[in-house]
Symmetry: C2
Subunit: 334 residues, 2 copies
């Protein structure tokens, strides 16, 4: 009786099939011819022993782990699962698996997680950085590792990039606010998050180019969460002269703002117009339904996977850049 305690290995299969490990390897990889009968015998033995190649050993040899890191702020933010799923689906057929890291948008954590992933030998990194720049990411992952960033950085550094045209969406939002007669505008976002700041910059630009009003007082800090938005809105609405409309760096913040407005008995959109960003599922379902900028998360994820596969396929490619459109979805809150 054969002992089944140890995992079967190529050696054990080879022994049982009366061939060398080399032949087993080639029977599996097809990288060199193996006679039909030998192959058959090997495959049967594999079946019998329930042999599965050890990916760790394979990785040590090949220096490839068939895994990529997906690093986001918080998978709990409804914007990210859509990205994660699209990345997963794009990669899985190519035999890759994704390791997910959550950083909560904290710069140090972003660095630590990145280093950890590199040490684990991932074949590439897909990341939405909040604090790190493209150059910093490159410095951490080394000169050769494929890195795809979801970022609005203008230059972006020596990495592949996917971005959404947030400025366009924000501009549509501000123009819409003006169209409905709302010309005093605040912004709620996270000054430490790159995503937020690029949206804020677009906001400022739009407000100025359209001749609307926004004072410093109306720019309030908030994390990308409902609670953050709630607290920020309370501050904003307790101002002597609050704005008539608020653009939020994401939908979660906007939802918090609307809750705060309700608690403070401030009518939305009559006394306060609210615009979000992302168009998560809840936006369309809540009441008042959220007017927001549609962020094509699934397309972003798919583009990331695509760029990653391309770069793995040809490391010499010049750095790629994919830009996806956004657009305002007008509902009830503004």
């Amino acid at each position: 009786m054969a002992r089944e305690l140890a995992q079967p290995s190529m050696a054990s299969v080879a022994a049982a099939a009366g061939v060398s490990p080399t032949t087993v390897s080639h029977a599996l990889s097809g990288k060199r011819a193996v006679s039909a009968e030998t192959r058959e015998r090997i495959l049967q033995t594999i079946e019998q022993q329930k042999y599965r190649p050890n990916m760790v050993a394979r990785s040590l040899r090949s220096r490839k782990t068939q895994s990529i890191a997906l690093i986001v702020a918080d998978i709990t933010n409804p914007y990210y699962p859509a990205i994660a799923r699209a990345v997963h689906d794009g990669l899985v057929e190519a035999g890759y698996v994704s390791l997910i890291g959550n950083t909560d948008g904290i710069g140090e954590v972003e660095q630590t997680v990145l280093e950890e992933m590199v040490a684990r030998g991932v074949d590439g990194v897909i990341m939405r950085p909040m604090a790190l720049t493209g150059q910093q990411v490159r410095d951490i992952v080394g000169p050769v590792m494929p890195a795809v960033l979801i970022t609005d950085e203008d230059e972006g550094g020596p990495v592949d990039r996917v971005n959404t045209d947030d400025a366009h969406g924000i501009h549509e939002a501000v123009a819409h606010l003006r169209d409905i007669g709302v010309d005093e505008l605040g912004f709620i976002g996270d000054p430490l998050a790159a995503t937020s700041m690029s949206r804020h910059a677009a906001f400022v630009e739009s407000v100025e180019s359209l001749g609307l009003h926004a004072v410093d007082e109306w720019f309030i800090d908030s994390e990308f969460t409902r609670d953050g938005g709630y607290a920020a809105a309370k501050k904003l609405l307790s101002l002597e002269r609050p704005p008539r409309g608020i653009v939020c760096a994401n939908d979660l913040i906007a939802i918090g703002v609307i809750q705060a407005a309700r608690d403070l008995r401030v009518a939305v959109p009559q006394r306060l117009a609210v615009v979000g960003f992302d168009d998560i599922d809840t936006a369309a379902l809540m009441s008042p339904a959220l007017t927001t900028v549609l962020n094509p998360a699934a397309a972003v994820g798919a583009a990331c996977a695509d760029l990653m596969l391309r770069r793995i396929d040809d490391p010499a490619l010049p750095y790629q850049h994919v830009s996806l459109p956004t657009r305002l979805v007008i509902r009830e809150s503004a």
Copy 2:
């Protein structure tokens, strides 16, 4: 000038520090004494070369990858990210990373993904199976791999289990429906998903014990998605004699049902009472706000991580079972 093309290894550090690789290893692991000055020299060299231990090689030796698989139906279902984050947080401080697999609840895919994860040498599997039984999972992962299942299986087989007391929540829901005078009840769920079927069983039991009515016609198939719920509700509501209330296997289905009711101009809750399951964020925000059974996803995830760590720590432990409570949250839809 030293060439920096190749990744530094223990050997390169050892050479530069004038010691053997063995000593470098021990300086790092602390598994045997190293003189203070030698250690100092080694650490400096590590600093200089920016050496990071190769986890793949370490894994090959130690047969541990410090990674665990988290296998769910669809990370895009808002119920799962909460689990994923809690698992992540529970595991990350112990130095583990999670590999996420999506199966869409398809039995074959569940098996394939599981095998893939085993081949990758994960140190354990956390899974919410839809088709596979605990025994089947055990057969696939082998006799020793830690496996924590989120399941309602009564026996559960040779695995650790976390379950929520779904029957209690469903019973509360049915009792509530009766209390508000709704006594003809339908159920929408996925006959192929274990989760759904255990909720359905509880539903049937509650309906009977409370003397209400539910006919076979009122049990409609649906995937765990909004679209599925929408289609199922259209079928149900086009029946000659539709039920007065619907219990849904999850919130996504319930949201679809409410949309269908709106399109069909069936008033919720007046003409159709709707109860969901999970209490995802949207439930409280939508209109009408969804009456639903609260499923403590974060607690479930935390419990999974905890059981996993315990089992890794002591493989000889008897199989564990953690049960978490659910409760009905009454809002507007029923």
